[in-house]
């Protein structure tokens, strides 16, 4: 945004104030996320930069907190790295690995469930003939609006009654509930931009309805489905309130483990975990962005 040539002095000053302000906000957004990264390599158990770190002394940096991720909870944490027995111990007993396994299983389960249900529902919702469409839509996206504490406690009572409390299935169901609105929204909005004459064009060119679905409809709405699925995955992977109420140690997920870490024995290990999660979110962001661009290109919005 270049300033026009006729701008007067006040406009110039204002312009620079504005740009500086925006820069500060961008830093405010990004720096807190990034600050955990260098601190996670701290050799000391502090949450601040040591003298050594600031002078870039290699001795001030270490991977000890990353090692701790694996060792925390191991049957024999003093054991030096010694091949399979060490790996086996970490895989079986490390608290964080336990949490990671749970997070992945639950997130994948919730993603599959919510993507399936959400996509099929979006196909129905996109038909204007559906009776009570507004009401149904409002119901389907209500999990986004209801405060998570209300949802979690409600499910806590229900699950205690029907035996889903402290089970993987219970968590998958809970996270699927929280994830479906994203799938419904992304897929319906993809479908609403979908040009129905393409279906007729496909049929007039000799393709049966099945072929039209496979080769015309599916490729065009797939990016929408995938980004909905990614949203659902991210929601589940990041969710902690429902886990607090609906899981015990066996189903503990990464955010839940961080939650206890932050409340009980806060150690820089959490920073190491946080760094790994930041790396994951960068990956997720990249994938979503690529999908979005692909979908725009497909729909001919950009070339």
């Amino acid at each position: 945004m270049a300033l026009p040539a006729y701008a007067d002095r006040w406009e110039r000053i204002w312009h620079w104030v504005y740009l500086t302000f925006c820069t500060l906000v961008f830093l405010f957004l990004l720096l807190p996320v990034l600050v955990v990264v260098p601190l996670s390599f701290n050799a000391e158990p502090y949450f601040s930069f040591t003298e050594g770190m600031l002078t870039l002394d290699p001795a001030a940096y270490s991977l000890r907190w990353y090692r701790d991720i694996l060792q925390n909870g191991m049957a024999d944490p003093t054991q030096l790295f010694s091949g399979w027995s060490w790996i086996g111990d970490a895989w079986a007993n490390s608290q964080w690995i336990h949490a990671a396994k749970n997070s992945i299983v639950i997130a994948i389960g919730a993603t599959i469930l919510s993507t399936l249900l959400g996509t099929v529902a979006a196909l129905g919702l996109s038909q204007s003939i559906l009776p009570g469409r507004r009401l149904i839509m409002a119901l389907l996206i209500s999990p986004m609006i209801v405060p998570i504490i209300v949802t979690s406690t409600s499910l806590y009572f229900l699950f205690s009654e029907i035996g889903l409390a402290n089970t993987y299935l219970g968590l998958i169901v809970a996270h699927a509930i929280l994830g479906t609105p994203f799938v419904v929204i992304t897929v319906t909005s993809t479908l609403s931009g979908f040009d129905r004459s393409l279906i007729r064009a496909g049929q007039s060119l000799g393709a049966s309805p099945l072929v039209v679905f496979q080769r015309v409809i599916m490729p065009l709405i797939l990016p929408g489905i995938l980004s909905g699925a990614l949203f659902a995955f991210g929601t589940s992977f990041d969710e902690v309130v429902a886990v607090i109420f609906l899981a015990d140690y066996d189903q503990r997920t990464i955010p839940r483990q961080m939650w206890s870490g932050l409340r009980e024995q806060i150690s820089p290990t959490i920073l190491a975990v946080a760094t790994i999660l930041v790396a994951m979110s960068i990956l997720l962001l990249t994938v979503v962005e690529l999908l979005r661009r692909r979908s725009e290109r497909l729909r001919g919005l950009t070339s």
Partner: protein, 364 residues
């Protein structure tokens, strides 16, 4: 027409979406093999509905549609083998131009080599040889239009439907494309059913034109006949400019001529298009370019009137002159810009006339 000549036959076809209003009303129409037939009519007159019933996207409420003598009322669209060009082109945005063109061939399981050869030939046909690898979004409107035409023709259907295919193009491109489509039709010999609401487009392109109004065919005729001999006042008004005047039949004469009285009392001679009765209300149709400014010069002028010039609009190749007679009847005259028309000034008096053959009395 025997079976071999007609490719499509609508037999008393009716269509309603809501069970009350007939969008297409008792339509009977035969389309000859190889002809270029245009459905012309104002927006909402049922043209698209007619086309969609033929393509199979709508089912007729009653009546029959025959394709090559076979009833196709309930045949699925993808089994009809009818090519179609959509108004918004409906090119698949996720496929390249070549993939779009190959689509109908692939679903028909043609061999790879055959598909490639045909795609190249089709691209050449529409003069877009170098564009095979582009996405539709990377083409201009006119180019997309041509690919859409090529895609509808590539599987060699006998019949191709086009629903306002040029509606989204600007005037210049539209005229170029009209010519190209017309040429393709002549070269390939396919039957084309073409929908438009633009009467000039219909007149330039078609072998025959069916004028639609309120779900009914008002007149089905060649462009010349439609222009020269409109049978209803709707057609006379919709196709080309016209002076339309309410009148009443006075006396019938020989040679299909009759004498009619205009509102206000002027008496003129007109062609009786139908079996008219004295005293019947009619609508007079008089093309503005057939009105003569110098009625005494040429032979054959049968009626003449006098009026005040209200407005002169200069249009380069011709002028439009608006005249009001003493009896308050308004006329539009188109005068070719051949020699300067001196003495024509706003507010001046003008005598004009026409030949009885050019004035048609249409029943209302």
């Amino acid at each position: 027409m025997e079976q071999g000549r007609s490719i499509v036959h609508f037999v008393n076809v009716g269509k309603t979406y809501d069970g009350e209003r007939l969008i297409v009303d008792d339509l009977s129409l035969e389309i000859a093999r190889g002809e270029f037939l245009t459905l012309l009519g104002p927006s909402g007159s049922g043209k698209t509905t007619t086309l969609m019933m033929l393509a199979g996207f709508e089912t007729p409420t009653r009546g029959q549609i025959l394709l090559n003598g076979q009833e196709i009322n309930r045949l699925a669209p993808h089994r009809r083998g009818i090519g179609m060009v959509f108004q918004n082109y409906a090119l698949f945005p996720h496929m390249t131009v070549a993939e779009n063109l190959a689509f109908p061939l692939n679903v028909r399981a043609l061999g790879k080599a055959e598909v490639e050869a045909r795609v190249i030939r089709a691209l050449d046909l529409v003069k877009l040889g170098g564009f095979a690898a582009r996405r539709p979004a990377q083409l201009s409107g006119g180019q997309q239009q041509r690919i859409a035409v090529a895609r509808a023709l590539i599987f060699e259907p006998e019949l191709v439907l086009m629903d306002e295919p040029l509606g989204a193009l600007d005037k210049q491109l539209r005229e170029g494309m009209q010519y190209e489509i017309r040429e393709l039709h002549q070269r390939l010999g396919v039957t084309i059913v073409y929908v438009t609401h633009d009467q000039a487009e219909a007149l330039t392109m078609s072998d025959r034109i069916a004028v639609f109004d309120q779900g009914k065919i008002q007149q089905l005729a060649s462009p010349t006949e439609l222009y020269e001999k409109p049978r209803t006042s709707f057609v006379a008004n919709f196709v080309g400019d016209n002076n339309l005047m309410a009148a009443e039949v006075d006396t019938l004469r020989s040679d299909h001529l009759c004498s009619v009285v205009l509102e206000g009392g002027d008496k003129v001679i007109a062609v009786a298009t139908d079996d008219l009765m004295p005293g019947q209300k009619v609508m007079l149709s008089l093309r503005p370019e057939r009105l003569r400014l110098d009625p005494d010069a040429g032979a054959g002028t049968s009626s003449r009137l006098k009026g005040v010039i209200e407005e002169i609009v200069y249009l380069g190749d011709h002028m439009r002159i608006f005249v009001r007679t003493a009896n308050q009847v308004r006329f539009l005259i188109k005068a070719a810009n051949k020699e300067p028309h001196h003495g024509l000034t706003k507010g001046g008096m003008l005598t004009f006339g026409w030949s009885a053959q050019d004035c048609r009395a249409l029943p209302v």
